[in-house]
Amino acid sequence: DKKTVPDLINTYEWTHQLSQAGFIAAPVSCFKHAPMADSWDNITVGMKVEVENTDCDNFSEDFPDSFWVATVLRIAGYKALLRYEGFGQNDAKDFWVNLCSSMVHPVGWCATRGKPLIPPKTIEDKYKDWKDFLVKRLTGARTLPSNFYNKVHDNLKSRFRCDLNLEVVDKNKISQVKVARIEKIVGKRLHVCYYDARPDDNDFVRKEELSGNSSTENKCTRRTNKLRRYCQPPEGFWCHEDSPLIHPVGWAKRVGHKLDAPREYIDHCAKGLRDKDDATEDLFPLPYYVPAGCVPFEAGMKLEAIDPLNLSAICVATVKKILNEGYLMIRIDSYDDESATTSDSDWFCYHMTSPCIFPVGFCEMNDLPLRPPKDYSPETFTWTDYLTLTGARPAPAHFFNREIPNHNFMLGMRLEAADLMDPRLICVGTVSRVIGRLLKIHFDGWEEDYDQWLDCESPDIYPVGWCQLVAHKLEGPPSPMKN
């Protein structure tokens, strides 16, 4: 019982929401990085499975556990509403299960283990000949493949292992990456520890170290403090293994990104040496190949970008520096004056193909609020005036990634999402806007200020039931009492 694991105490259960009218979970197949996503379309309503029969006498010496066949009536993420076979239209014993849990089996599983199917007590007298009934109900029906759980198990394995070294965006100085070590892995989410981490290191960006975005610092601190009332204290930094925030050993040197690392690490990389615990490139998603000299962006160009320190805002931004292999250093124009901050400490690295950067006019075209540069108000800001005043050139629209995958996310779909301002937290959320491939994720029960703009292929969003599947705590909506 995963609920007895200390980390999972008070984990949120979707169960009471699943049957509510209008509840729609984003299908597992929408989340490419999620276990079983590539074969989830084969999981269908009407499918038959074998599950524990809880409608029976509590104890029998001959059969300590009892199983029966059930039909999948509804699917919501990894969860399925089941009805025991033979109940007809009677929904009295319907129940929700996680289809990837070890409690659900393909039809035939019981026989391979010598366990007989025993009809539930409610219907045990309904038929005289259960064999005839089962033959009629099961012949031609669909069930799970016999290796379903091997597949689930394989799909849950991370490419990484604990103790590997890698380069991770420094949460306290976003313009640099820092050497870190993988401490723990849960559901392909890596808990990494910076090489110089202090014992009291927290996930959220520390107030005194944030460079010039006071609204974000207050937001992070406020939310974390709220959650801390009923959460374990945060430690280290969490991200998914496909996150663009992590890189192999040697990446910073290769692309020309700032690096914070011990002297011996820098020397090691300079010599092209690798340690057995160094994360190598093959562990990371294949980078988009951009040949040298083929980056059309130029320093000084203006664009619109998701604020890496406040994912609810799309902002006026500037390309500050071109790195190798198509990486760009970008600065959000609404941050404090550069002269008032520590030089380039608030620049952030986006790849030129990132779905989180947009051409000038993207927000206006999609009727989205655009956060203007510092000292401008949304009412008075116009791109035309700003470009004239700054003498800057807008990055042309064809420089940007314009591909829109056929993602199938729709407004109102429910999911589980990492709070990227405190990424050890996975919270219940709702797709509140869909703009092409861009999704706005609303955290249920929280103000809109906490919403996050994420790409439809973000590895930080998961189907309903993912936390339960990987044994990660799920944060429910804040209860009014606790607030």
Binding site: S39, D41, N42, I43, K48, P106, V107, G108, C110, A111, T112, G114, K115, P116, L117, I118, W130, K131, L134, V135, L138, T139, G140, A141, R142, T143, L144, P145, S146, N147, F148, K151
Partner: protein, 34 residues
């Protein structure tokens, strides 16, 4: 046999055991057995 419409489903004999005895039925399983 494979479902020619989707090529994802395979017909298979599935063993069922009840208190009265054992028998088999023909079902479709999604084709991830390989």
């Amino acid at each position: 046999m494979t479902d020619t419409k989707t090529r994802k489903w395979e017909q298979k004999q599935v063993q069922i055991r009840t208190l009265e005895g054992e028998f088999s039925v023909t079902m479709w399983a999604s084709g991830t057995d390989d």
